[in-house]
């Protein structure tokens, strides 16, 4: 790492005003640190590969995921069908490839939605304190009084008749994640609020939202990014579980969880039907977990050289 960049990071930490001008060197430093961890690199490779598969699904997949090859049901993997065919003769490889799209879509959009709700709530809670804080935090406590998966099920049950299934899952998965973001943001706002530089910008009579956006939010970016990365993996895992129960993505959309569910009764005849979608889920979640852990280490200021 060259000296100039290290200085740039120090400036960033001590002076959030400079943040905007140094985003690039910050990213460069982050990448430098990430490269040092083998598992983080492995995670990044898995995540990038998955994104590429999802984006270029129509190029990679040899067939349409819904296309039925007549007279070819339940085939084992072969040169013609890399992962075999399912019970009605669809190409499993194509289904696994296309399945990445829904997983990625749900993983990312539920995480972004949760942040869009959770961050403003956390800011409001930490910055204004008092009754606002009390009410928001009690609602968050309430959400956390349920196991994540049960809460996701409750949300699905409550809204599935009014909202299309895929969006139902996205909303359910974001609701369960809102408390974690609001708590992270609230915590950093509370501690940052007391800093002198915030006092200073207040004295400059800047508007509240401007103080929050420009001066308080950058302080909690690191934990937010790490949490979000790990949350994408969890969201994909929970989506797969919901679809496995028939409460998530609905056919004809190809989904790993749903395909696993329909493969269970056939497991003795063709175990590959279960193995491929299962391994796809495993690799995806593993990628996000490894990458998230790596990011956490890279962003940890205590590990700074």
């Amino acid at each position: 790492m060259d000296a100039g960049k290290a200085v740039a990071l120090d400036t960033y930490v001590s002076d959030p005003l400079a943040e905007e001008f140094q985003t690039r060197s910050m990213l460069a430093i982050l990448f430098q640190r990430l490269k040092r961890s083998k598992s983080a690199v492995a995670g990044l490779i898995l995540v990038v590969a998955l994104l590429l598969v999802a984006i270029f699904a129509d190029v990679i997949a040899p067939a349409d995921p819904a296309e039925i090859f007549p007279g070819k049901a339940m085939q084992f993997p072969s040169r013609e069908h890399l992962m075999g065919t399912d019970q009605i003769g669809r190409d499993v490889f194509s289904r696994v490839v296309y399945g990445s799209r829904i997983s990625i879509m749900i993983g990312f959009s539920s995480t972004i939605l949760a942040m869009l709700i959770g961050i403003p709530l956390g800011i409001g809670s930490g910055y204004y304190g008092g009754a606002v804080d009390f009410i928001i935090m009690r609602v968050m406590d309430l959400i956390m009084a349920f196991p994540i998966f049960l809460l996701a099920i409750i949300a699905v049950v409550a809204i599935r008749d009014v909202i299309p299934p895929t969006f139902t899952v996205v909303i359910a998965l974001s609701i369960v994640r809102v408390p974690i973001y609001s708590r992270i943001v609230r915590g950093s706002v509370l501690s940052a609020k007391e800093n002198e530089y915030v006092e200073a910008v207040r004295a400059l009579a800047l508007k509240d939202w401007r103080i929050l956006y420009r001066h308080l939010l950058p302080n909690c970016m690191a934990p937010l990014i790490v949490t979000a990365t790990l949350a994408i993996g969890t969201a994909i895992l929970v989506e797969a579980s919901l679809s496995f129960l028939g409460l998530g993505t609905q056919p004809p959309t190809p989904s790993w969880g749903y395909d696993l569910k329909s493969s269970v009764p056939l497991i003795q005849i063709n175990p590959w039907l279960s193995i491929f979608p299962g391994v796809a889920i495993l690799l995806t979640v593993l990628g996000f977990n490894l990458f998230g852990d790596g990011l956490r280490d890279a962003l940890d200021p205590r590990l700074k050289q």
């Binding site: 406590d141 309430l142 049960l150 409550a158 895992l237 409460l247 696993l260 269970v264």
Partner: protein, 319 residues
């Protein structure tokens, strides 16, 4: 400690009330008016108004909630739409089955995690440490139900050791019961074991560096004894906290695992109710599952109070 226990018991009350509020609101969010359903073809504005009065639906929301809560407290949980049987006794029958699965899964995860964590920590950065840590990493990313499917493939279909699915009550034979619960418990416990192994390893490594361990070694205490008695006791305290945090995942996972292994517990009851849109049953499923969560968290916190290091320290002093 008594003060702590009382305080902790009191905190359960707002949590339970909160849960009932969420369940009450969620059930009312579901579209479809019960009055429309009851009246069907005999619909008229007067009949509707009369029924609304009868069920208290003309009252404000908070009054409706209090009335509903009062009914629930009296054990009046409504009748199933599908079977027309009272919901409460039916769901209470399912409860022990799920509890057995949940407890067995926690035991499995601890039985894997503690030895694996110790083995890793006593020889950090060795081949066996890397192997344990890699397994833990994979375990943390794999869906429970996929582990379940793989276990069925291996232990039932290939090796023919255990039954594929189903459930047998303890009264009908202990071995029969265990042979049906082992695989689901392994599937459910594996992912939890992954997280716990990393934790046991980390806290063992911390503790093994402490002076009192060095002192014990210097006194000539055998290494095995140093690790199992002196170090492990303190390393397990943070583990208890994390076991508590894992309960939610185990309860959630149990819902899925029960459907993989067709175990007639809460999860299967709930999923059947949800797909059959049997809302009195759904409501009971959510309430009971959430209660299991709250009470098991309470149990872990109380256990934590018992394991508190200062308390065991005092005992040692008097020995």
């Amino acid at each position: 400690m008594k003060e702590y226990i009382i305080k902790r018991l009191v905190t359960v009350i707002p949590t339970v009330l909160g849960i009932t509020i969420v369940v009450f609101l969620a059930m009312r969010l579901i579209p479809g008016d019960p009055i429309d359903l009851i009246l069907a073809d005999d619909y008229s504005e007067e009949a509707r108004a009369q029924l609304e009065r009868e069920y208290g639906l003309d009252k404000p929301f908070h009054i409706q909630y209090v009335k509903w809560l009062w009914q629930m407290l009296q054990g009046n949980w409504g009748r199933s739409i599908l079977t027309d049987r009272p919901v409460l006794p039916d769901i209470l029958m399912k409860l022990p089955v799920s509890l057995e699965l949940i407890i067995a899964s926690m035991l499995v995860s601890l039985l894997i995690a503690i030895p694996a964590g110790i083995i890793s920590a006593t020889k950090p950065y060795s081949a066996r440490d890397y192997m344990a840590m890699t397994t833990a990493l994979v375990g943390n990313s794999v869906p429970d139900f996929f582990v379940g499917i793989l276990l069925v493939l291996l232990l039932s279909h290939t090796l023919g050791l255990l039954p594929v699915n189903g459930y047998v009550e303890v009264n009908d034979g202990l071995w029969q019961n265990l042979s049906h619960i082992i695989m689901p418990a392994l599937a459910l416990g594996f992912a939890r074991a992954a997280i716990l192994t990393r934790l046991v390893r980390a806290s063992m490594l911390e503790v093994l560096k402490l002076d009192y361990v060095t002192t014990a070694r210097a006194k000539g205490v055998r290494e095995r004894w140093v690790i199992l008695k002196h170090a492990l006791q303190n390393a397990l305290i943070p583990t208890v906290t994390v076991v508590g945090l894992q309960i939610g995942f185990i309860i959630g996972g149990a819902i899925v695992i029960e459907t993989v292994f067709t175990i007639p517990g809460l999860g299967q009851f709930g999923i059947d109710a949800i797909s059959g849109r049997d809302y009195p049953q759904v409501q009971a499923f959510i309430l009971v599952t959430a209660m299991v969560f709250v009470l098991s968290n309470l149990a872990v916190d109380l256990l934590y109070a018992v394991l508190d290091p200062r308390i065991s320290y005092a005992k040692k002093g008097s020995e």
